[in-house]
């Protein structure tokens, strides 16, 4: 009997000890292997913000962030539809990624030092450069955020927004009262009901709320102040660098395609292009896909099924009334820049 218990215990120890060892021996990405075995990508997204992540009435997800998920699926499976989405609130998103509930988090999430380090995330790039702003009712007759002294402000918890808000008022030596409600719907409802004088979040989010959630968008103004830098981007867990590489280069492929003039419409005809860069991007030469552990036609599939970055932007963000601005390519005065695919 005793020996049995001992055996049991030693089996436990053996398994426990071998777990980290097994992880180290795998040459490819364990996350990628798991996704392939499962047959679909599990993507953590925003289920509420039109333009970034929102399922339509048929349950089909759309948005700039959603397009990143679709592009990753296209790169892995050659099929942009092999994604399942988990709608996450600001509070839930990091735990969902850390615990492995999702493979990838693309939910208008700001890249910050503490998230990159102490939350154990790895940001793979920036798919939208944003900043925080305030929206107020026009009838309030407020022209600048500096006039918000004593105002009540609705804000979502677990966001950089909550922190920037406190910073901004401290820096300007003015006071405010926060109303912190977990879900976006109730937050917007509280703002519309007049519980709060202002609603604050990323300016893209404000534009989205104004366009899609207010009865009369023209009754609301977004104040001119941009009080923070909000580089929004996809993130993965620490510890699987190869998986991070894949997500990073999927985004770059979309930028590179825009820069090289490859679109979903002309990608097929460009397969016979003699331009060496185009040939490399589309996997005709160079074997770039294999280096990532993917099919060589990875970028072709992304462009064919999802489009380049400009196509994704125009489909999702332009309808909100947001200009390309800093989100333009570096060649056009913006910040979007892909390292060479070679």
């Amino acid at each position: 009997m005793k020996t049995k218990a001992l055996l049991f215990a030693s089996a436990f120890v053996a398994v426990a000890a071998s777990l980290p060892a097994m992880a180290q021996q795998t040459a490819t990405s364990p996350t990628l292997d798991a996704i392939k075995a499962r047959g679909f990508l599990q993507c953590g997204a925003n289920g509420n913000v039109a333009g970034f992540g929102l399922p339509n009435a048929q349950g089909v997800w759309a948005g700039l962030d959603v397009d990143v998920c679709r592009a990753v699926a296209a790169a892995i499976f050659g099929d942009a539809t092999k994604v399942r989405y988990t709608a996450l609130t600001a509070q839930q998103r990091f735990t969902a990624l850390q615990s492995g509930e999702v493979d990838l988090l693309v939910r208008n999430t700001t890249w910050t030092l503490s998230r990159d380090t102490s939350l154990g995330l790895e940001f793979t790039g920036v798919n939208f450069y944003d900043g925080q702003g305030f929206m107020v009712k026009k009838s309030l007759n407020v022209k600048s955020a500096k006039e918000l002294n004593g105002a009540t402000i609705c804000v979502q918890p677990g966001t950089t927004t909550e922190l920037n808000l406190a910073d901004y008022f401290r820096a300007n030596n003015i006071r405010f009262t926060p109303v912190v409600i977990e879900r976006e719907e109730e937050n917007v409802a509280a703002y519309l009901a007049g519980r709060c004088d202002a609603y604050t979040t990323d300016i893209s989010g404000l534009a989205s709320v104004r366009a899609s959630r207010t009865p009369v968008p023209a009754d609301h103004v977004i104040l001119p102040e941009v009080i923070s830098k909000e580089p929004l981007g996809p993130s993965v867990r620490h510890g699987d660098a190869r998986w991070g590489d894949i997500v990073r280069w999927v985004h770059y492929a979309m930028l590179e395609a825009e820069e090289s003039g490859i679109t979903s419409a002309n990608v097929d005809s460009l397969m016979t292009s003699t331009n060496p860069n185009t040939q490399r991007v589309l996997g005709v030469t160079g074997g770039m896909g294999a280096m990532l552990g993917l099919d060589n036609k990875w970028a072709y599939n992304i462009i064919k099924q999802v489009g380049n970055y400009a196509e994704s932007f125009e489909r999702n963000i332009t309808p909100l009334g947001i200009e390309r601005g800093v989100n333009n390519l570096w060649t056009k005065g913006g910040l979007m820049y892909s390292p060479p695919i070679r």
């Binding site: 990091f94 102490s118 918890p157 912190v180 977990e182 879900r183 509280a190 510890g239």
Partner: protein, 399 residues
């Protein structure tokens, strides 16, 4: 175990335990040691594994974050707090906010629940009907839905601060909450508090004295009236000694909102009303069951002794009903406290809401959850201990 071995000890002259699995005593001890060992090992394995995993993924652990600057603001606080304060202080604000809604909620739910429970037994068909409908309705709707209902009610039915309704002079109702004037800060208030505490102690001794005197002489003393007099009179006298300061802190509309006065926010109000009405539905049933559990003969016997309805309830029915009521009541109090964690949905900054924000920013989920568990456990155990003590005190003493 000793009894076991003695009972089956016929085969062993000296009755000693043998180190063999065929000996029942040894077998029992052996398996318990094995089970405890396995559980302990699994616990150790889980903890050490978690710690290793956290370390390999580069997570920070430990409690150092509690003394770092929190950086976020909190809408309603019972103590001074600003974004420059620490996470530790933010968590304390959360604990106090949770206690505030729980304590007030428990008192109000008990009163409302008792009234409805008694009402359900009323001979008046209308009263009984209304009370039963209330109980059935409230208990069968999810609490979160009810919270959202009250939240939307307070927010949508009241005007903005600039059109606030002045219900009484200086009392304003708006979608920013209820504003009431309060006496402006004065040093005498602290001494009035001391006088109030002293009055509580005095009332206790007075009640004891009255009981002893009644037992000895049969003379009754108006304990209730005297207690009220002490509680109100003590602080009043101190206030008069302090020069009767009458300066009030009036709420006035300045800029976006009212400044000054005391505020009850719509979030707090919605949470409180939601928790009280919901829990009262359950308490009503407990009270009703408790009263029904007292045999009819007791009532008849009491009226045969010539007791009027008041003393009859107070001296005969309630003491017996309470024995049935207290234990399930304890779990309703615990439920109310735990349900208050739904606060974040409607924007009341309770403990869970603040710890969630904290762990979202620090990534220290394990420490955060441990704090929530420790806080709720402490509150729950305190309620249990208090209620058990009360239960023992009122328990039927068989003579």
């Amino acid at each position: 175990m000793a009894g076991q071995s003695a009972g089956s000890g016929g085969r062993n002259d000296d009755n000693a335990m043998r180190f063999s699995l065929s000996d029942p005593t040894f077998r029992a001890i052996f398996w318990q040691v094995v089970v405890v060992g396995i559980v302990g090992f699994c616990g150790w394995w889980l903890i050490s594994n978690t710690l290793t995993n956290l370390a390999t993924r580069g997570f920070t652990t430990g409690w150092a974050f509690l003394s770092r600057e929190a950086g976020f603001a909190i809408g309603e606080t019972m103590i001074e707090y600003g974004p420059q304060d620490t996470y530790g202080r933010a968590v304390l604000v959360g604990i106090l906010n949770t206690l505030r809604v729980a304590v007030i909620g428990i008192v109000l739910a008990t009163i409302l629940g008792t009234l409805i429970g008694i009402g359900r037994l009323s001979k008046n068909v209308l009263v009984a009907g209304v009370c039963s409908t209330y109980v059935e309705f409230i208990r069968n709707l999810p609490l979160l839905v009810q919270l959202f209902f009250w939240w939307a009610m307070f927010q949508d039915s009241l005007p903005g601060p600039r059109q606030a309704i002045e219900a009484l002079p200086g009392v304003f109702l708006s979608n920013r909450g209820v504003k009431i004037p309060v006496p402006a800060d004065h040093w005498i208030h602290a001494w009035m508090g001391v006088a109030f505490l002293a009055a509580i102690v005095a009332s206790y001794f007075m009640a004891r004295w009255a009981r002893v005197r009644q037992a000895a002489t049969g003379e009754q003393f108006p304990v209730l009236l005297a207690t009220i007099g002490l509680l109100a009179g003590g602080p009043l006298v101190v206030w008069l000694i302090g020069g009767a300061p009458v300066t009030m802190d009036w709420p006035v509309l300045r800029g976006f909102n009212f400044q000054g006065g005391l505020t009850m926010t719509p979030e707090f109000a919605a949470l409180l009303v939601g928790l009280v009405t919901y829990t009262a539905g359950f308490i009503a049933e407990i009270v009703r069951a408790g009263i029904l559990a007292v045999p009819n003969g007791q009532t008849e016997a009491a009226s045969a002794l010539g007791l009027r309805r008041g003393p009859m309830l107070q001296l005969v029915i309630l003491p017996q009903a309470l024995r049935v009521i207290i234990p399930p009541m304890t779990s309703q109090f615990l439920n109310l406290t735990k349900n208050s964690s739904l606060a974040v949905a409607i924007g009341y900054p309770d403990l869970v809401s603040i710890v969630n924000t904290t762990l979202n920013q620090t990534g220290q989920a394990i420490e955060g959850i441990a704090m929530i568990m420790a806080a709720y456990l402490t509150v729950s155990l305190s309620i249990s201990v208090l209620m058990n003590w009360y239960n023992k005190r009122i328990a039927f003493k068989e003579r």
